[in-house]
């Protein structure tokens, strides 16, 4: 057996750790000794849930995906709390802070990104650290520091009205602070939203208590020892006890650039996630640039991690990453917002389907190109979100009626239908497949209480859940029968049915003898005249050649019992009618 190669991963975040997990799951430890170097001192946690930790919905412990002992249990060497300061590509060596030397055969760079902090005065102390009360919101450490500081303050400002900034704002509100959001442009989340949806989102958040300041450029953080307010370019100021800067992120590419790898916004990689100019070095996650895209969402990162793990473990040596369609949701309890793809039409033929309801801040917009969803903004109606996002993800053909997409008929049954409004073919008893029509016939034939209707039709003899509906039909039809009694054109005495009704009932219940008909349908005592009429009708229905039975009922069995006879007539005949839609009335 050849010696194992050294696989080294720089970065223990959403992309790096996921890659390691996938590699281990695919048996990568048989091929590689795996080493992970992470700048944070803890294991890998779910960065997506940081805003949930801030808002207090998640405990910090509950967001760890790979705690420290995971690495030990899975035979992965972890250098936690070590920053890599250089890579020697010729010597195939990574240099960590504090003199850590780590040789590699294959190197995966997953250094992620850092908070972008726009220039402003007074943000830093003399030692270069943030002034007390000023934070970025990127790591679990940032998060716990913000929570700690927020405990003693009343008023917070968030710089940046993007996705993360808004989540941070709501999180701080949940901790009892008054929160102001300062945003540079004219509407919130301007890269994902159009102006109207941005405005609706703002109104939704204002209703939750957040205050917004649009088109404001923060020029300075005020306060000597600690933050006391913000100064804007227009000369106005805002008092606050703390400020969280959430103005976007920048890929961490310095290490790669120093190592001579090709870097534009991110580290340039091809479809195999390998760097353009070094096939033993790969980059995945927020630091990588693939087909001119730098992704900041978890789904693409995990897809990249999976593709690379498949290649390196030989699970699928030809696996390729072809790019991702991106969509995301705002994680603010009480505001349902999802965005996907293009926010505005790009081509002349693009269809724009919109529904706007200012009263409830509902805004739905779908960009359709070539019959497929290319972009969507869905605000205020969470139930519409999954269907649209799945159509976007899969690029599936859309219904011609686009409103089907925007208005899922969630309660497709509608309000409970009264039994009187149901059609005859509606099934009342699921267990025994008894339709309303059959029950009506049974009532009209003289069964005037639930017990006898059930005995005659088997309705209610399974789980019993339809008994109330049967009762309603008994009440309803009983009245009708009473009202009709005078002018009913009975076919035979003793059965309150016209000839067509009686024919329908005999067919539906498969009654083959006069006795069976009388047993099932008659109101009272049998009558010789009725029997003769029924014999005639039965011959008409079932035909001369057909063996219809005379008086085969065994004494013991009520109609409730199944009576099987041999030969059992037309057992092989299969009706081709679709659905049991025989109207009896």
């Amino acid at each position: 057996m050849t010696e194992k190669q050294k696989l080294v991963v720089i970065g223990n975040g959403m992309a790096g750790a996921r890659f390691v997990e996938e590699t281990v799951a695919m048996g990568g430890r048989d091929l590689y000794d795996i080493t992970v170097i992470g700048e944070e001192r803890c294991g890998n946690y779910n960065r997506i849930l940081l805003s949930s930790v801030l808002s207090g919905s998640h405990a910090p412990d509950d967001i760890f995906i790979n705690p420290l002992d995971w690495y030990e249990e899975n035979g992965v060497a972890l250098h936690a709390g070590v920053r890599v300061i250089g890579v020697d590509r010729k010597g195939k060596m990574a240099y960590g802070q504090g003199g850590v030397l780590i040789p590699y055969d294959k190197l995966v760079i997953a250094t992620g990104s850092s908070a972008f902090v726009p220039p402003m005065d007074g943000l830093y102390d003399e030692d270069g650290s943030y002034k007390a009360g000023a934070f970025v919101f990127r790591t679990l450490e940032d998060c716990t520091e913000i929570i700690e500081y927020a405990g003693d303050t009343k008023r917070a400002a968030v710089i940046g009205g993007g996705l993360l900034g808004l989540e941070a704002a709501k999180g701080l509100m949940n901790r009892g602070l008054q929160v102001d959001v300062i945003h540079l442009t004219g509407w919130l989340m301007e890269t994902q939203l159009d102006p109207m949806s941005g405005q609706f989102l703002q109104q939704s958040l204002e209703e939750l208590g957040v205050t917004f300041h649009l088109e404001k450029l923060t020029t300075a953080v005020m306060g000597d020892e600690k933050v006391t307010g913000l100064q804007f370019k227009d000369g106005n100021t805002l008092d606050c006890d703390m400020v969280v800067v959430s103005a976007g992120v920048r890929p961490n590419v310095d290490l790669a650039r120093m190592a001579g790898l090709h870097v534009r916004r991110g580290i340039l990689v091809n479809d195999s996630m390998a760097c353009r100019n070094d096939q033993d070095i790969y980059a995945i996650g927020e630091c990588a640039e693939h087909r001119s895209q730098v992704y900041g969402l978890v789904a693409p990162l995990w897809e990249q991690a999976r593709v690379l793990a498949e290649r390196l473990t030989g699970h699928d040596e030809d696996a390729l990453y072809a790019g991702s369609r991106i969509s995301t949701k705002l994680k603010v309890m009480g505001v349902e917002l999802a965005v996907a793809g293009d926010k505005d039409p790009l081509e002349a033929d693009d269809e724009v389907v919109t529904y706007v309801e200012p009263n409830r801040n509902v805004y739905k917009k779908v960009i359709v190109r070539e019959g497929k969803v290319k972009g969507a903004i869905l605000l205020g109606d969470g139930l519409a979100i999954p269907r649209v996002l799945q159509a976007f993800d899969r690029q599936e053909p859309l219904p011609d009626n686009r409103s089907e997409l925007l208005f899922p008929l969630v309660d497709i049954l509608g309000p409970a239908v009264k039994v009187e409004d149901l059609p005859d073919e509606a099934q009342i008893c699921d267990c025994n497949g008894v339709t309303k029509g059959r029950i009506v016939v049974a009532v009209r034939s003289g069964n005037r209480d639930v017990k006898s209707v059930c005995a005659a039709t088997r309705a209610g003899s399974g789980c019993g859940s339809c008994t109330a509906q049967v009762q309603a039909l008994v009440d309803l039809e009983g009245e009708n029968v009473a009202a009709d009694a005078g002018d009913l054109d009975r076919y035979v005495p003793g059965i309150a049915l016209t000839k067509p009704e009686l024919t329908g009932a005999i067919k539906a219940m498969k009654l083959r003898s006069a006795a069976a008909v009388l047993e099932a349908l008659s109101e009272g005592a049998a009558d010789a005249q009725a029997e003769a009429g029924l014999e005639f009708l039965l011959r008409e229905i079932w035909g001369e050649t057909e063996e219809y039975e005379r008086d085969t009922l065994i004494e013991e069995s009520s109609v409730f019992a199944t009576v099987t006879t041999w030969p059992s007539g037309d057992a092989r005949a299969v009706s081709v009618a679709v659905g049991a839609s025989q109207g009896y009335r």
Binding site: E396, L413, W566
Partner: protein, 708 residues
């Protein structure tokens, strides 16, 4: 209900037995007067309490059906099945086995059993394979039903009994989460317990891609994307963990491995789970809140969740949920699987599975082998090791190293196995095929010898229902003159194979006693159960290790039968189904059952009252999808997958997802849903992926495809 029950007492005095169909095993009273056989529900049997569904009411129709096989058949020189004597038929079956084993070795003989067979027959079939044929190749159609739930339960809880609590517990559950089960159609009398539960103020949550008859009765319907079950379970657990609603005391005291799943659960945040499952976040949150706030809650799974290539993981993820909430082992709470076939429970316990010996013992466990060998009076070394699982056996038929001579008893694999056309090809390439059935099923049509079998009301034996209650099946009438009980067939064949001394019994009860001894000390311990005890108690719940033991209605009260006594969490990361929609096959296909039909339809398709209710297989399609393909209610469609094509009529319904087509699997030939399904197997249970594959709709019926 009570008023209906009163009616049913009119038949008191008739013989008490049980319905031939599903695992609910409704108690019935049957009276026979000549050729007329009358059925009523048995109001005194505490499970169905007198209720029956339409299948039960009409069950007697198969007994006297004109198409019933009444004599053995064998293929003559022109290849036509013609009547022969029993001696000739049995000689030919024995010779078929001998020839195949002589030419290719012991494992060239195979047995394919069924989950409708009594415990006695299941046991005897397993013994026959190991002792008379000495082949490792025996498996059964329950592999297509229960194997995923079984493997998951054994792995997590140490044992597999479908419902480890009595059905009556359901009525007391505050919240029930039911996934992948349409019991309102497949097991209608069960619904009385949910009616009672809801009358008590309880809530029902149903997860299903379809708005089934069951889902439409639910308080909350989670309409998940096919194949995303474990993401749903993980997502609900994530929310419960987030909200601090787990039972940490229970987790600490009664389980192990929770810390190892926390990291995985952390990756199933609601927004992500919404994307994967298509279930709106608001509904996920509501489901979690209902479960978390309930004092007593239940999680129940059905085939929708289990019949997937990730079926075991799916079930594990739901067991994780039940464990984290501290539900298992508490009254009116817990995890259960709703077993499907009549004896789907007992059929999986007594050695009919490729990897098992009686009492739910493992065939690779030396102690189990020694115990069973002693009961059988054979040398332990003579008992073969594990054999091929059901689909793998079918896939091997007629091939080198595969089975060359096969006996199918109580199963219609041509209709019920996945990738049915391939299965037909394999069956045709066998050297010898024998089929025991009541009718000339699609599988029997391919056989060299067909053996006419006695039916449910013509035989004695025991069944084990979905709650692990062992009950009596009783003879009401005699089979037609030239029809025999499978037990006598197995024993006669053993005689002809020179092993008759191990197969001489005075009747079913003696076999049951031997089964009891063979199961003694095993997980499914029947040693203390007797026919008399069953009669006296309306059934006995296993385990019941000795004569003084009253049986075990509720399991896990004090501990779990695992090495540590604790239940185990398993980290489950959901994966994609083996096949997902793409440009060529753009929709999901899922399969299931209709109210008026049962399994492969061999019985129910011959009952006029049932076929008139459901004469044809209907493909359920959403109106938006129907409109895209210009389909209307009643249109004929051909559905096409990578395995084959099948024909259906369209039922347009908003009850199905736009991306999914549902078809029932009760029909054969060109109407067979299983011509379409994917035989991708779960790595642990070897369960095929019946419940999800990719399909294409073709509007026109293809007249040149006549099928088998």
């Amino acid at each position: 209900m009570q008023q209906v029950n009163d009616q049913m007492d009119s038949n008191a005095g008739a013989t008490a037995t049980h319905c031939p169909y599903c695992a609910f095993q409704c108690g019935m009273r049957i009276s026979a007067a000549g050729k007329e056989i009358a059925v009523t529900g048995d109001a005194e049997f505490p499970v169905n309490k007198g209720a029956l569904c339409i299948k039960g009411w009409t069950a007697a129709a198969t007994l006297t059906h004109p198409e019933r096989l009444t004599t053995p058949l064998a293929r003559n020189e022109s290849g036509v099945l013609v009547p022969v004597s029993w001696d000739a038929a049995l000689d030919r079956v024995a010779q078929g086995f001998k020839d195949a084993q002589g030419a290719y070795g012991k494992d060239a003989a195979g047995i394919f059993g069924g989950g409708s067979l009594t415990n006695e027959k299941s046991y005897l079939l397993g013994k026959f394979a190991r002792v008379a044929l000495q082949t490792s190749n025996i498996d059964y159609n329950g592999r297509f039903c229960m194997s995923s739930a079984a493997a998951a339960s054994i792995g997590s809880l140490g044992i597999d009994r479908g419902l480890p609590f009595p059905l009556a517990d359901i009525a007391g559950a505050e919240v029930v989460l039911m996934t992948g089960s349409n019991s309102a159609e497949t097991m209608p009398p069960l619904m009385q317990y949910f009616e009672e539960q809801r009358a008590n103020g309880g809530m029902l949550i149903v997860a299903d891609p379809r708005l089934t008859a069951t889902a439409s009765r639910a308080d909350l319907h989670l309409r998940l994307t096919p194949g995303t079950d474990s993401a749903l379970a993980n997502g609900i657990l994530h929310i419960l963990m987030r909200d601090g609603r787990l039972d940490q005391d229970y987790i600490d005291a009664r389980t192990e491995g929770f810390d190892h799943i926390k990291g995985t659960i952390a990756t199933y945040w609601p927004e992500r789970v919404e994307r994967i499952t298509g279930v709106p976040q608001r509904e996920l949150e509501r489901a979690a809140r209902l479960l978390g706030e309930a004092g007593a809650a239940m999680v129940l799974t059905g085939r929708g969740t289990e019949q997937q290539a990730q079926g075991v993981n799916n079930v594990r993820s739901f067991i994780n949920l039940a464990l984290a909430l501290g539900l298992i082992g508490r009254p009116n709470s817990g995890y259960g699987c709703l077993t499907g076939q009549g004896n789907g429970q007992g059929g999986r316990e007594h050695g009919q599975k490729a990897d098992q010996l009686p009492g739910y013992r493992r065939i690779d466990d030396p102690a189990a082998r020694a115990h069973v060998a002693a009961v059988w009076g054979v040398d332990e070394a003579r008992i073969p090791g594990p054999g091929k699982s059901a689909y793998e056996m079918l896939d091997s038929l007629g091939l080198e190293g595969g089975v060359m001579a096969l006996l199918v008893m109580g199963s219609n694999v041509v209709v019920s196995a996945p990738n049915a056309r391939h299965v037909v090809d394999r069956l045709r390439s066998l050297d010898f095929l024998a089929v025991s059935d009541f009718f000339r099923s699609e599988t029997a049509e391919l056989a060299d010898v067909v053996l006419p079998a006695a039916q449910w009301a013509e035989e004695e034996g025991t069944m084990t229902n979905l709650e692990g209650r062992v009950i009596r099946r009783r003879r009401v009438t005699n089979p037609p003159a030239d029809v025999r009980d499978d037990v006598s067939v197995i024993c006669e064949l053993a005689e002809r194979l020179g092993e008759g001394r191990h197969f001489r019994y005075s009747g079913a009860e003696e076999i049951f006693h031997e089964l009891g001894r063979a199961s003694a000390g095993g997980p499914a311990d029947y040693a203390g159960i007797t026919y008399a005890k069953i009669d006296a108690n309306n059934g006995v719940f296993w385990p019941c290790p000795d004569a003084d033991h009253a049986g075990t209605p509720r399991m896990f009260v004090d501990g779990f039968p695992t090495a540590s006594g604790r239940a185990r969490f398993h980290a489950v990361r959901h994966g994609s189904p083996a096949e997902e929609p793409d440009a060529d096959y753009p929709l999901y296909l899922t399969t299931g059952r209709n109210l008026a039909q049962y399994q492969s339809g061999t019985q129910t398709r011959r009952v006029e009252e049932l076929t008139s209710m459901t004469p044809l297989p209907l493909a359920e399609i959403h109106p938006a999808t129907a409109s895209r393909y210009q389909l209307e209610e009643g249109s004929g469609v051909t559905l096409v997958t990578r395995r084959g094509a099948a024909n259906f009529n369209v039922k347009v319904t908003r009850g199905i997802r736009e991306d999914t087509v549902f078809v029932p699997f009760h029909w054969g030939g060109v109407q067979a849903a299983n011509r379409l399904t994917n035989p991708a197997l779960d790595p642990t249970s070897r369960m095929p992926e019946f419940k999800v594959c990719a399909v294409r709709i073709e509007a026109a019926l293809r007249s040149n495809d006549k099928g088998e």
